[in-house]
Amino acid sequence: MKLTGAQIFVESLIKEKVEIMFGIPGGVLLPTFDVLYGAPIKFILTRHEQGAAHMADGYARATGKVGVCIATSGPGATNLTTGLATANMDSVPVVAFTGQVATHLVGNDAFQEADTTGVTRSITKYNYLVKDVREIASTIKEAFHIARTGRPGPVLIDFPVDVQRASCEFVYHKYHKEVEIRSYKPKYKGHPQQIKKAIDLIKQSERAVIYAGGGVIISGAAGELREMAKTTQIPVTLTLMGMGAFPQDSELFLGMLGMHGTYFANHAIQNSDLIIAIGARFDDRITARLDAFAPKAKIIHIDIDPTSISKNVKVDVPIVGDAKNVMREMNKLLNKLGSKNMEKRKKWQKQISQWKKENPLTYKKDGKLRPQYVVEKIYEVTKGKAIIATEVGQNQMWAQQFYKYNYPRHFITSGGLGTMGYGFPAAIGAKLGKPEKVVFDIAGDGSFQMNIQEMATAVNNKVGVKIAILNNGYLGMVRQWQQLFYKKRYSATDLTANPDFVKIAEAYGALGIRVSEKGEVEGALRKAISVDGPVILDFLVEREENVFPMVPAGARLDEVIRGLA
């Protein structure tokens, strides 16, 4: 059967089981949007392409499926880029489509033309410019394969308008053949010899720590991680991206490590004799001063991406493979070690509980409305079962510290790129993927305004996300650094000219609730959850509250500022 490029595009998406896509049309996408009209794919019209990219990303993180977004050529494509870079840094499977000017105009500075594949080359896992209608189906198939396999990431397909209009034969059954790319063969199984070496190191260790990241969540290995910790009695610290990979009420849980990690996680790392890194990449927010990181520790590093291994920290036993596969193999061997291997870690556990007792994660509990209290209340009211998206900055750190994440894919945050404006659209994407879930965006007043226009998208599609603005009238994290390291010179961080967020909610046709007293928090949260549509909760919190503990930039991981005197 002969189909146009646009029809092949839509048929291919249906074959990939795409249920929903996010985006905005434009001149060069008209043929495609004409086919999408009436197609069995839910289309969410966003108000900015950045919103579309983050929604696809949030949908992917919450569901584990590939998120799909689409934007027109030129400005549509460049508006997508922040979303693509965000997904790229956090290994999120997204397939983005961009319209392109007709092939004979490409490179001519045509109206709404940008070199999209050139611009996005370094912020995608891979990208394509499709110049022949006969290549559309195979390109889409490949793109989904690349996006979801190995270390996942965003893939972009640039799609000229004349290719959408051209037609060729499309045979459905052919679409299902396996993708075979000779130069792309991710390694899923760990090398048995390396695994054996790792087990030997674990056997010899007395003060081991497991340091696990987003890779554990991506590979669905939370169960394997729990088993490994249980059979070895080795404590576990998680990265921001790893939140939810390990139950937080466990005795063995250390909380997050790094710049705003717990005192005890950072001290455990610095004093350990073995670090078992799983699906994490030793970035600068984790290691603090690199040359003083974990000086006594040997390091085992399990990662599917060989370029993550020995990039920042020299690794003793590298294991390239999928976290789930490798841990399953390791657990088989660890199970045989028996209780003697657990016994010798008693002393180390005692030391850690001592640190925990002396330096718990806490904040000043008085009559004032503090942001940490709001986050704790969200945890209580949702019984820890909500999906929490965050913006970036103080709100993000408090959301991590004071909500307990016990399930994978329940904490959605821009860890690598640190994209302000991410949380709200990501929450919309997550809620559309998991409609049965309560979904919160824990936001700052600064971040929320970076994609506030998506209120229209949320209202229009009845997406009941709850936006909890921890409103301190500042770009809070930058202000905190200015307070601590720049003599309180609050240069360009004051946001007191903020709009009235309750009125903003109302103007969009949503509910807005302002909370300025501690006693009103719980009631407001319950009210917000009971409402079907989106709700903005404007919490007027203590303006100069800081995120502690904190390891200043350039300091050693255990040089922790615990609070201000």
Binding site: S122, I146, S183, Y184, P306
Partner: protein
């Protein structure tokens, strides 16, 4: 340290940009780059000469391997291999000096491929060292232009 890196890649648009940006993003200067088709028309080989910090280079090699269009990466350091570069040198060779230039060309087993009234173009193939030697010998006569293809390398045996 100088590295001769040979990369087998898919012969399609954008591949060179992906590779060169890996180097430039880490502040590496590519000293020499040669690209050509292999025995398979859909596979090209790039030979890249770089110098730089070993640790960063190890990372670049891994990143190269990770690129989806790259089929194979070989670093020839410490491996028996041949390197060849082709150079064209336009050198002054007026009446009085022409025979001297010809003599040097002869000794290097190079070739004269073009003659004009005041200059000749010399063609030679060789490794880095031999080319430098020839260039040094011809310098006193006045070199007007040098064009090189870039180094290509092949493992022995």
């Amino acid at each position: 340290m100088r590295h001769t890196i040979s990369v087998l890649v898919e012969n399609k648009p954008g591949v060179l940009a992906r590779i060169s940006s890996l180097f430039s993003a880490r502040g590496f200067n590519i000293d020499s780059l040669a690209v050509g088709e292999t025995e398979q028309h859909d596979v090209s080989r790039m030979t890249i000469i770089v110098k730089g910090d070993e640790k960063i280079l190890e990372q670049v090699m891994k990143q190269l391997n990770k690129l989806i269009d790259i089929i194979k990466v070989i670093d020839f350091v410490g491996q028996p291999h041949l390197e060849r570069d082709l150079v064209l040198i336009k050198v002054n060779a007026g009446k009085g000096k022409r025979s001297e230039v010809l003599e040097i060309v002869d000794i290097f087993r190079a070739k004269i491929v073009d003659v004009a009234s005041n200059s000749v173009i010399v063609e030679m193939t060789g490794d880095e060292e031999k080319i430098l030697a020839l260039v040094n010998m011809l310098k006193p006569y006045g070199i007007k232009e040098i064009v090189r293809t870039g180094i290509v390398a092949m493992g022995r045996g």
